[in-house]
């Protein structure tokens, strides 16, 4: 399967500041979350992938096409929702979204038709003939999403699409993003709000200080193989027993956080408790949030592809 995008040793600098540092990743089609703090390099990565910025070094491919040579072909097949303002306030939503479709090469009639359809899809059908200058922030974000998908792209790059929205607007936007995947449109969705990514995406790329600290399926973040055990008595013997068998165990009071690779965590904990004759008060799967995983990966600090 052709990767959605891939980069090899991608480096981009703004003066002395390295926004992307030797980024090497390969990402499959689907709903991709691009997470990182402000300034982590998310927008720079997206703009490089679109050919809007020239990297200092490195190579990139989007949809199997090299960005350095085929950026115009790539841009015909992708959509982009910028983070900041990008809407002309003196045009109606229908006119602007139709124009955005024409800019992607669609004939005028098809552009108008799709403009109407997509504005219906994002919930702005009633408001499509209103001027954008009269729109609220939530409506603005939906028009920005509409212009990014009106030309039926294979992938939509959405830069902080839920930024500035109230909880209801945010939920609506995330629902729209989830639906794009159902329509066969891959989504690369950048956010510094990790719960949004967690709810929406099936693959996550974590960026920190311009480096990729993790890129992989969201279910591989350690949730399945991680257990929290509260024991009766001294937890140290059980912890030592499990560590000797390859598990990573963190002890905090009577609590054990057990993470295993290639072993069944429940079986390991059961055997450890029996072997060390320690009673158990509580046992359950750790609810590792994306936020915790991000912090863990950032602390470990070793870039991984």
């Amino acid at each position: 399967m052709t990767p959605l995008f891939s980069t090899r040793n991608l480096t981009h600098s703004y003066g002395d500041v390295r926004a992307l540092d030797e980024v090497t990743i390969e990402v499959p089609p689907g709903r991709i979350g691009l997470v990182g703090a402000n300034g982590a390099g998310k927008t720079t990565l997206i703009r490089n992938l679109l050919g809007m910025l020239q990297p200092a070094s490195g190579e990139m491919e989007v949809l199997g096409l090299p960005v350095s040579r085929e950026s115009l072909d790539i841009r015909s097949q992708v959509g982009y929702m910028p983070e900041g303002n990008c809407l002309p306030l003196d045009q109606t939503a229908a006119d602007f979204v139709g124009y955005a479709a024409e800019l992607a090469g669609l004939p005028t009639d098809a552009a108008r038709r799709r403009s109407s359809e997509i504005l219906f899809l994002v919930g702005l059908h009633e408001e499509r003939f209103r001027y954008l200058g009269d729109f609220s922030t939530g409506m603005f974000q939906r028009v920005k999403l509409a212009q990014a998908i009106v030309h039926d792209p294979q992938v939509a790059f959405l830069d902080e699409p839920a930024s500035g929205l109230d909880p209801e607007g945010r939920e609506h936007m995330l629902e729209l993003i989830r639906r794009l995947g159902d329509f066969g449109i891959s989504v690369v969705f950048s956010s510094h709000i990790l719960s949004d990514i967690e709810e929406t995406c099936d693959w996550v790329v974590m960026l920190d200080g311009g480096r990729v600290i993790r890129s992989g399926p969201i279910e591989d973040l350690g949730i399945a193989d991680s257990l929290t055990v509260e024991v009766l008595g001294n937890p140290q013997p059980a912890a030592r027993w499990m560590t000797e068998r390859g598990a990573t165990v963190k002890v905090a009071g009577a609590m054990l956080d057990v993470r295993t690779e290639g072993l069944d965590a429940f079986t390991l904990v059961r055997d450890a408790l029996v072997a060390t004759n320690v009673g158990v008060r509580r046992l359950g799967q750790s609810a590792v949030t994306l936020e915790e995983a991000f912090i863990r990966e950032a602390e470990e600090g070793e870039p991984r592809g």
């Binding site: 090469g105 799709r114 039926d152």
Partner: protein
């Protein structure tokens, strides 16, 4: 008795993929050109956005109607000397429409460039199959086509009506005035380059449409007396080059040169330069304007 079904409601029309042909870069450029027309003419915009362009267009159409009526009346009463000597023809008509065209360029050029830049719409353009140079070229085409239409449509109507009203007949008039067919388009092109290039410089640098239009008009109007002052009264070495500052008058000088009329009254010729120097200045300013715009937009993108 059969129950009546509840009223059907379409809750989701789903999503349809586009299966037609995509026009790529030429299609994107064409879209920018068409949007430029709509933007300048205020089409699909609020009513107040239409007032200025359509007032100027109306002025042009009224002027050609009045001028043609004068020629018609003079021909009807048989005052051919008056028609030949006193009534304005194409060159003199440019004198009027070039003033209106200056106003048109003053607002149209920033209108084409400034909102896209200041409202962040460039990010959308440049995520499409469009390079910075394509965007600028398409905007230039919009302005060029509108400006040439603005100058040439009234002149064409005027020329055709002169032929219709001519006592010698339409065909004879057309054959006797073949020079007009190159003189008028050439002059219109010179006015476009002369006025639009300076407007491009201002629109590239100034972040508000109204402000840019005002600065452009002020600069164009003030540079003429400044150039005359330098040519006529200053006596330091090289002061004659101050004549080149008269950007507004250069197209008039080149127009008179094209039509074979006297060119002695302009700052450039008063400073001792040949008329081609005015044309060279226009070309130079055009190149500078394009280079400046390209550099600014390259950085922005």
């Amino acid at each position: 008795m059969v129950d009546r079904p509840a009223e059907a409601v379409i809750v989701d029309r789903g999503y349809r993929h586009f299966e037609g042909t995509r026009k790529g870069r030429p299609g994107a450029m064409g879209a920018v050109v068409r949007d430029g027309f709509r933007r300048v003419l205020g089409l699909r915009r609020k009513g107040r956005r239409k007032i200025l362009p359509w007032t100027l267009i109306t002025m042009m159409l009224i002027s050609v109607a009045v001028l043609s009526a004068l020629h018609y009346a003079a021909n009807r009463v048989g005052v051919t000397d008056l028609v030949a000597e006193e009534l304005p023809h194409h060159r003199e008509y440019f004198e009027f429409i070039s003033r209106v065209a200056l106003l048109f360029v003053a607002f149209a050029t920033p209108e084409l460039l400034v909102p896209d830049r200041e409202q962040g719409v460039l990010a959308v353009y440049l995520s499409r199959p469009l390079r910075t140079i394509d965007y600028l070229a398409a905007k230039g085409m919009s302005l060029g086509i509108l400006m040439l239409a603005f100058l040439l449509v009234p002149q064409t109507i005027f020329h055709l009506l002169l032929g219709v009203f001519s006592p010698d007949g339409f065909t004879t008039y057309m054959l006797d005035n073949l020079d007009v067919l190159w003189q008028v388009p050439s002059t219109a092109a010179v006015y476009f380059l002369g006025y639009a290039s300076a407007a491009l410089i201002v629109a590239t640098l100034i972040p508000r449409v109204g402000f840019a239009a005002g600065i452009y008009l002020a600069v164009m109007i003030m540079l003429n007396p400044l150039a005359e002052l330098l040519v006529d009264t200053a006596n330091f070495a090289g002061s004659e080059y101050g004549a080149l500052l008269a950007l507004e008058s250069h197209p008039h000088l080149v127009r008179d040169w094209i039509f074979g009329a006297a060119t002695s009254g302009y700052p450039v010729t008063r400073a001792g330069f040949e008329p081609w120097v005015a044309l060279a200045t226009i070309m130079t300013v055009s190149v500078v304007a394009v280079a400046l715009a390209w550099n600014r937009y390259r950085r922005l993108s």
